[in-house]
């Protein structure tokens, strides 16, 4: 176990070597990330959201707050110190004019006041208050923690998800049937803007930083991102192929280490298409709240691995062992859930002892 600011160059070298080997398919064991905290320091839901801080609060004050929080974190195994710029999922919608509201532990986006899809005009706005704030927080974090903590890109969102925030989800569902050409056109525009925002954030990453990360667990040596399209939960494979797939391919082409966040059973109908994206490196399978955890979906995990993709899941310590026993651990990234906040160093030691035995 290593504490956040006790990470040494040797620790970083280990992280870089093992993760690179994992990405290259040369690591025979799974990667396992376990993050715990000092007792009594676990945050409340929503604590990480930067939308809850007033926009005029100095960024350095906010970084001070999170610095104290990071001091309480312990990293085991392949986990690494990270802080990501959390303004909520799909903040690009706010960059493009959607209203932002923080309440009940999450960020909500309010649609543009337009009557029809055709009225939506998308343009890069360098002076957008949220875009400026995201850059400000990224820079402030980089100034404070360069080389010590990986500064994760903000959660830009999925292209259709961003459009859903701008248009209203239900309206967009109708639009997919009634105005498909305009949907396609707007999604293409959003993709171009998404890449512009991504490149701008990439340029803010400090040279001393060890690799890249975002909200999701994967670390990557360079431009990596967890792509997503939660809207796809509701649409047919035909619509996915038309509205989502082309833009995922474009984003994959522009990244070095693209991953896809497949959230919920409703997205399983798109799995074959996702697996067909050559440059997509892996799939994060998230069965969704209320569903059995990922170790109960071995058939899905097997399909992902047999298609040659890496696979990341959120599981318990026992779940990680189950998957490793059943499918082998190679190519998996297990991010360990500690919902009961009860994982002890002794349990971690016992887990690794068993994992090593299973992996041999």
């Amino acid at each position: 176990m290593t504490r956040c600011f006790a990470f040494t160059e040797s620790d970083w070298l280990r992280i870089e070597n093992d993760w690179r080997a994992w990405w290259d398919g040369e690591l025979e064991r799974p990667l396992v990330t376990i993050v715990t905290r000092d007792p009594g320091t676990y945050p409340e839901p929503g604590d990480d959201f930067l939308t809850r801080f007033p926009l005029n609060q100095p960024a350095s004050e906010i970084i001070d707050y999170f610095h104290k929080r990071l001091e309480t974190v312990h990293y085991y195994g392949d986990a690494y110190p990270k802080w990501w710029v959390n303004f909520g999922a799909g903040i690009v919608a706010a960059f493009l004019g959607a209203g932002v509201e923080y309440s009940t532990g999450t960020t909500w986006f309010h649609p543009l006041p337009v009557d029809s899809l055709a009225d939506i005009r998308l343009a890069y706005d360098a002076d957008n208050v949220w875009w400026r704030r995201v850059q400000e927080m990224t820079c402030a974090a980089a100034d404070r923690w360069a080389g010590q903590v990986v500064i994760g890109y903000t959660d830009l969102g999925g292209n259709m998800d961003i459009l859903a925030s701008l248009r209203g989800t239900q309206n967009l569902l109708f639009d997919c049937i009634e105005s498909p050409d305009i949907v396609s056109e707007l999604v293409d525009q959003i993709t171009a803007l998404w890449l512009r925002y991504f490149d701008a954030l990439e340029a803010l990453m400090p040279p001393a930083q060890h690799g890249r990360a975002a909200w999701a667990p994967p670390w990557s040596p360079s431009r990596g991102y967890m792509l997503q399209s939660d809207f796809s939960y509701m649409i047919s494979p035909a619509m996915f192929e038309r509205f989502v797939l082309p833009d995922l391919i474009t984003c994959c082409d522009a990244l070095d280490y693209p991953f896809y966040h497949m959230d919920g059973r409703g997205q399983l109908v798109h799995l074959d298409m996702l697996l067909s994206i050559e440059k997509l490196r892996g799939i994060q399978w998230q069965p969704g709240d209320g569903q059995p955890l990922a170790d109960q979906w071995l058939g899905i995990l097997r399909r992902i691995r047999e298609a040659g993709k890496l696979c990341q899941v959120f599981v318990t310590l026992d779940g990680a062992l189950t998957i490793t026993r059943e499918l082998g651990g190679k190519g998996f990234l297990f991010d360990i859930l500690d919902q009961g906040r009860t994982i002890t160093p002794q349990q971690v030691d016992a887990f690794y002892e068993e994992l090593n035995r299973v992996c041999i």
Partner: protein
Amino acid sequence: METLESIRKAIIEGQAKEVEQQVQAALEDGAAAATILHEALIPAMEEVGRLYEEGEYFVPEMLIAARAMKTGLALLKPHLIGSDIRPAGKVAIATVQGDLHDIGKNLVSLMLEGAGFEIIDLGVNAEPEKFVEAVQQHQVDVVAMSALLTTTMTRMKDTIQALEAAGVRQQVKVIIGGAPITQAFADEIGADGYAPDASQAVTLTRQLLAVT
């Protein structure tokens, strides 16, 4: 009757204008509103539910069909009010306090309406008191709650407790749904039922109210 079949087909295909024209034509031809409702609109939405459950329809297709159904229903309503036709039941529905997601709630609402239930839509972010008020004011038969977040699903229990505290819990059936919801959670908080999707919410409501 050929027109009824055309209405049914137009609803399934989500052709709102076609539904409007055909329902108007059927009424002008002397068809009873109740016949159009029971032999075209309700069967059409049952078929839409079946197509959804079988994975042939997805949410957009279901929504657009439901919207077409509502167009037809709006034309029938003035005729139904004057007749003896009563709704299959009255449902107060909302997304619970703290949660602004509305697609699931809207779908359930539309499917129930398509099945002949009267809907009192309380919107999103509905406080427990809002449900209590609806039960007291509208004499509803069913309270339907939706939540998409694990952080907001706990408000369902609060709402049931508020119904109990107001002394109206026994007057209504409580059903719940939403991505994080399970039957176990429904049992735990004392709901009368849980449905995993909009189509099954209709089946559940019918069962609870013993509507055939």
